[in-house]
Amino acid sequence: MSRMNITTKIWLCGLIFVVGFLFSTALDQARALKREDALDATSSALFPAAQQSQTAVAAFQQAMKAFSDAVLVQDTTRLQAAAEDGRLVAAALHGIDATAGVPAARAKEADNLHAEVERFFTEAGATYGAAVATSTAMSDEVQAKMRPLAAQATAIGIALKALNDGCAADLHAELRSVAEESKRQRWLSLAVFVVTLVIAGGLVHLTITRGISGPILRVVEGVQRAALAAAQASDLMAASGQTVAAGASDQAASLEETSASLEQLSAGSREIASRGREADAQMLAASRVATRATETMTAVRHSMDQVATSAKHVAAVLTNIDGIAFQTNILALNAAVEAARAGAAGAGFSVVADEVRSLAHRSADAARNSAAIIDKTIEDVARGVELVGDASKAFAEVLTTIAANGKVVATMATSSVEHVRGISHINDAVAQIQRVTQSNTQHAQDTADAAAEMREQMQTTLAHLDVLLAAVGQRTRSAGTAPSLRGVDYAAGTAA
């Protein structure tokens, strides 16, 4: 059953309903045949019997009326009519007795009555004939016969009435039985029909519940969950879109700033490159200056060497001067000694000698001082030569450094140019990023709009699902426990 599809199930329910209907109809037909048999028996036996019993009663009453008329008005023709009615009574009773299908007790009762009626009419014909024959007063004998006849007529009338009632009761009982049977059949048919209807209805209900409503409910539930999740996702998308759009706007602003900074950086780099080229030129000039300084230093060294040589010559001269002063001092001493030996004549001379010796001392001191100065000069020159050498070395190093720096500056200039080119590329890239960012902003906004639209569509879908739920007899989400968009924290993306 559970593997059948819905169409098969519905056809099966219809088939069950048709089978139940056919069974009910067949049952009805069988009962109807039985009822028709009973009605046939009724129409062929009980109904004629009732009619004949009624005829017998009526004929007997007519006969008694005829007898009464005959006796009262003394009319003999009424006696014949009474006899004719009596034959009718007898014939009707015989007819009841002879009719097949009449209950045996009723037939026996009719047979007994038939005999009694025949006896009565024989006796009544004679007695009432005698009564009719008498003129005014009837004889006591006739009266004595009439009295039991009256009682007998009453008894027969009662018996005929009882027979008639019995036949009518038989007829009514049979008709009631048929009616009861028909009623039972009607109720039975109704019961079979109702049971069939209930079974088919139950199966249809089960089929619809399990085959249609159940899957629909499950689908609706799934779609509801999906719609809820989609709504949550759309809300998240909307929030993310808004966030992305805001971030993209911020990013665009930052990119604007970055681009401006890059422009400044590019300008700075170009300035650096320009300065680098200038520094390169300056380095070249410095190199030339340093070269010239080196050459000057070399010349200074030569000059210093010549100064040293000259100083050495001066020193040699001063040494001679010092020797001369020494010898002068000796000569002065000798002159003083001679002057002292010369006594007074030598007194003047001794003063000259003292003066000479003082001059000699002063020359010696001057020579020594000059020698010292010359030594100092030679020493200074030597140190100056060393310094000049050092300076030459330094200038050489300066040249080397300037050359190296020139290379570095040239490299820096080249790098700056490349840097400028790179910054230009970065600018282009930033511009491209800006365009992409602007596009992303638009797309993020579009995504947010699409998410909002999707959420509305989800709500519309849920509303349609409510209609579908109502169509399958379920409570709607708002009235039931189905998930609702209202209970969702869309910002957090979770269901409350």
Partner: protein
């Protein structure tokens, strides 16, 4: 005035209820009948066979006259003709409710039958002598 009017109406009513020719016959009964008078309704019931006893319990048997002034006056008071009464009695006999009453040819036969038959009650001329019988007054 009002009382006189009521008395007049009562008198007229009694006159209407009373037999018109009661003075033309008298009721005779066997001396065994206890009552000394009889109402006309009781008399009518006895002679139409609807009752066989008087209110005092006496069993009575009606006796008819065949002809005569008393018979005619009695039938007139009874409201039937001779043939009608005969048919009426035949119907009673036919239905077994009663037997034909005794019919006498003259007042003398009536008186003789009443005098010898216990419970018999009949009518004769008012002036007829009825020895051996008891004359009942009509109420």
């Amino acid at each position: 005035m009002r009382r006189a009017l009521l008395a007049t109406i009562a008198t007229l009513g009694l006159a209407a209820a009373s037999p018109a020719s009661a003075a033309d016959f008298k009721i005779v009964a066997h001396p065994s009948v206890k009552a000394s008078d009889i109402s006309f309704d009781d008399l009518k019931s006895v002679f139409l066979g609807t009752r066989t006893s008087l209110p005092d319990g006496s069993q009575v048997e009606p006796v008819l006259a065949k002809a005569g002034a008393a018979h005619g006056a009695f039938l007139k008071d009874l409201g039937k003709t001779d043939a009608g009464l005969s048919t009426y009695y035949r119907s009673l006999v036919f239905t077994g409710k009663a037997a034909m009453p005794k019919v006498c040819g003259s007042d003398a036969e009536v008186i003789a039958y009443v005098a010898r038959t216990k419970g018999a009650i009949g009518y004769v001329s008012a002036e007829a002598r009825a020895p051996g019988t008891k004359t009942l007054g009509l109420k």
